[in-house]
């Protein structure tokens, strides 16, 4: 009788173990729960750049258990709107937020609230003054400026006068890019004089300034423009004269106007960010953070140098002429 009980006990235990294994295995298979992410942009009117950031972020959710929604302020300068929006999102308690801060001072306290609410936060493209976030994914502006300096340096021969057309004096990105460029110049041509003009994000201001320089016959051995608006303005100014006298010119960012000038030869090189990669990386980093993995607090998604010769390379054409993968190529007409 004792033997029988022993047998029963052994088999019973075996069975219990088995059932446990089965349950655990099934549980493990379904364990990855759905997480919700809110992407908070500066504006609901997505420029081409932001469209790419978004499609990159969406690509990042592939094969992951993620639901997402995209919100934004009225326009790029609607800081109050974004603050109100963020407060609403915090109440909603999503698992993670991807945020492009519209103002690095005023948004900063909100990032603390987000982190305090236990929400994972990844900043994309535009950061804040503090460090209340899990990761900041952007183009390293200093490096972009430095790259612009190196590329312009290749086009010049012992320059004496180099002009920087920058966007807004005191803006974080402007300062960083400018510093990068200056450092590259110092390294290459220490003797060159560098003049700086702030166009305050106005094409006409940049155009007027550069046109005046040319018309006054001031010697310019090279020009760098450090954002899209400044680049187009500068190119507009150089365009009438470029066949007569070409000024080495390196611009930044990517737009259809810039591409035309690049094809025409007014712009020699463009330093182009990788918004798709930026969006993809920020989503990937956020997912890692939500899963509890350690993430880098700063990620540089880099920039690319585009010239007339390489702009239609298989790799670059997709960067310059992005298409939305679900809807086909964007008509850039």
């Amino acid at each position: 009788m004792k033997h029988k009980r022993l047998w029963l006990a052994v088999v019973g235990m075996l069975l219990v173990l088995l059932v446990l294994t089965v349950t655990v295995t099934i549980r493990t298979n379904n364990r990855e729960r759905t997480r919700h992410v809110v992407i908070v942009l500066k504006s609901r009117e997505y420029s081409e750049f932001w469209q790419e950031v978004i499609s990159g972020a969406i690509k990042g959710t592939e094969n992951e258990n993620i639901t997402y929604e995209i919100v934004g302020g009225e326009d790029e300068n609607d800081v109050t709107g974004q603050i109100a929006l963020l407060n609403k999102v915090i109440e909603q308690k999503p698992d993670g937020i991807i945020l492009a801060a519209s103002d690095h001072f005023r948004i900063d306290p909100i990032t603390k609230n987000i982190m305090d609410a236990g929400i994972k936060l990844v900043l994309v493209d535009s950061g804040v003054t503090g460090d209340n976030y899990n990761s900041f994914v952007s183009t390293e502006n200093y490096m972009a400026g430095y790259k612009a300096g190196l590329e312009l340096g290749e086009l010049m021969n012992n320059p004496e006068y180099v002009v920087i057309v920058n966007h807004v004096q005191g803006a974080l990105t402007a300062i960083e890019r400018e510093q990068g460029f200056k450092d590259a110049m110092k390294m290459l041509y220490n003797d060159a004089t560098i003049g700086i003009f702030y166009a305050n994000d106005k094409e006409e201001a940049a155009e007027r300034y550069v046109t005046q320089l040319i018309q006054y016959g001031i010697q310019i051995d090279g020009i760098v423009a450090l954002n899209e608006v400044s680049t187009i303005g500068t190119a507009n100014a150089l365009n009438p004269y470029h066949e007569l006298i070409h000024v080495p010119f390196v611009g930044m960012d990517n737009s259809i106007d810039e591409i035309r000038y690049l094809e025409k030869g007014v712009i020699d090189k463009l330093i182009v960010q990788q918004p798709f990669y930026m969006g993809y990386t920020s989503m990937g980093t956020l997912i890692d953070a939500m899963k509890g993995d350690r993430v880098k607090d700063k990620i540089d998604t880099g920039s690319k140098v585009i010239t007339r010769d390489n702009m239609y390379d298989e790799v670059n054409q997709m960067l310059l002429f992005p298409f939305n993968e679900s809807e086909g190529p964007l008509d850039t007409e």
């Binding site: 033997h3 089965v22 094809e263 086909g328 850039t332």
Partner: protein
Amino acid sequence: MKHLKWYQRFKSIQSSMVFAFVFLITFIVITSSTISLIFARQSARDSAVAYTEQIIEQISNNIEYYVREMDNVARGLTFSLDVIEYFEGDTDIGTKNRVKLQMEKLLTGREDIIAASLFGYNQDVISYQDKELNPYVNITDSKWYKGAVVFSGKPYVTASYVQNIYQGSYPWVVSMSSEFKNLEGDKSLGVLVIDMNYKIINDICNKVTLGDKGYVYIIDGNGAIVWHPSQKLINTGIYDEVVEDMILLDDGNYEFTQNDEQKIYTMTTSSLTGWRIIGVTYEDELVKNQSRMALLFIGVAAISILVSFVISSVIAATLSKPIKKLRKSMVKVQGGNLEEVVEIENNNEIGELSHTFNAMTRDIRSLIEANNKEQKLKRQSELKALQAQINPHFLYNTLDSIIWMSMADKKEEVVEMTSSLAKLFRLSINRGKEMIPIADEVSHVEHYLTIQKYRYSDKLTYSIELDDKLRHVTTLKLLLQPVVENAIYHGLKYKEGGGHIALNIYQENEQVVMKINDNGVGMTPEQLDNIFETKESSKGSGVGVLNVYERLKLYYGDEAGMTYNSTLGIGTTVTIYFPVRMEVTGDEA
């Protein structure tokens, strides 16, 4: 000890039966599950690959169908007389308009066609919808142009790219280009390029699902990516795709590990476009189904093992129960209980065994009974024979003495002797009973002594002492008389002067002790040793002490006995002892 060992061994038969059953079934279940899993895995893989092949074949067909349609459009232009005429040098404005009209006819309403242009080697260009050309682009650098020239008349299909030849627009397209010739076909006149909206390819490929993670991608014959769901990631360098290897391989299935994932690549080549359409499925998705299947098998295995355990326990118990019963009965029989009968429950081997055992027990029982009966019978007949032995000799002598006394006219003595003889015989016969009260036995020997006293005149004296408690205690009859006779004939007869016999009967412990003491001649040690061997050969009364001894032993067994004590010239003492047994049948006359 032996009992426990048997029990344990018995138990282990049952356990080992259960163990054997469970082991066997576990083995079978695991083996068959494993084999099924292997086959299931193979067939899952096969069907996944077959499905992928079907899908990519479908995509290839769709693309070829579309390209063929484009080719028809292209032929409508390249074989048009107006086109040939115009590019052969007929610069008539009317011809040009007819070409434009033809283009309108062929292309209007087709949203999938973004642009079409005829580039003559004579530098003349006719564009559908008169699109402005991009002044900064040299068309001879374009892939479609070079391809068409190389293909010389056959249609050339590009990979996906950004078309930059038209002013102000940079659409994503797949172009088909072909060189057109004069009527004789010996002179190339120019190149036709038709730009197809890339969306078409995108739509064809994007709808495809291969499992949760699987996908399709297309590369052209040079390894340029035509379509890939993660093309931007590939360009950024954070995603790798197998491209170069696929160009070198033929259509079929290949396994690659890529981005740390096992994938199955299935490729088909479109002969019309030279494109390679590749379907990718993930090994771990197959394995996912696999593990679900494995879980099912484990469950089934667990249940069958449990069921087999229960069933085998029941079977083992049913089989071992009759064995257990049989064993119990055997132990009882071993302990002496021959009445034990094993119940027979079924007719299997154990039933037969039980049956045989029962028969054996029965046989032993009847053998023992027969033996007992035989023994009893033998004893009775012997007893009767012995009792019958006593009489004749003594009777002659006594009757002789009576005759002599009658002749001597000793009337009173004759009466007493005759009366004693009569009583002696009555007691001797005593209704054939073996057992009599000691009182009767004593009076029997007293009658005998009376007779002998008369026969030997005053040469014999005797004394009898009987414990009154023992009067009703039973004894085997004719114990004393033969001993007394022996004492007279062998001890006193040869003695000078008178002899005396002292009879003393008393109880010692639970034994009756009868002491017969004579003061006769006694015996030598040799005689003493041979006392029980005198047997029938000796004359005298015939009923020897041996007879007494044997009867004692026969009736009482080891509890009774008889000893001789004798000293030559002094006398002999015979001691008879046997257990005290009260008379059962009451008083005796």
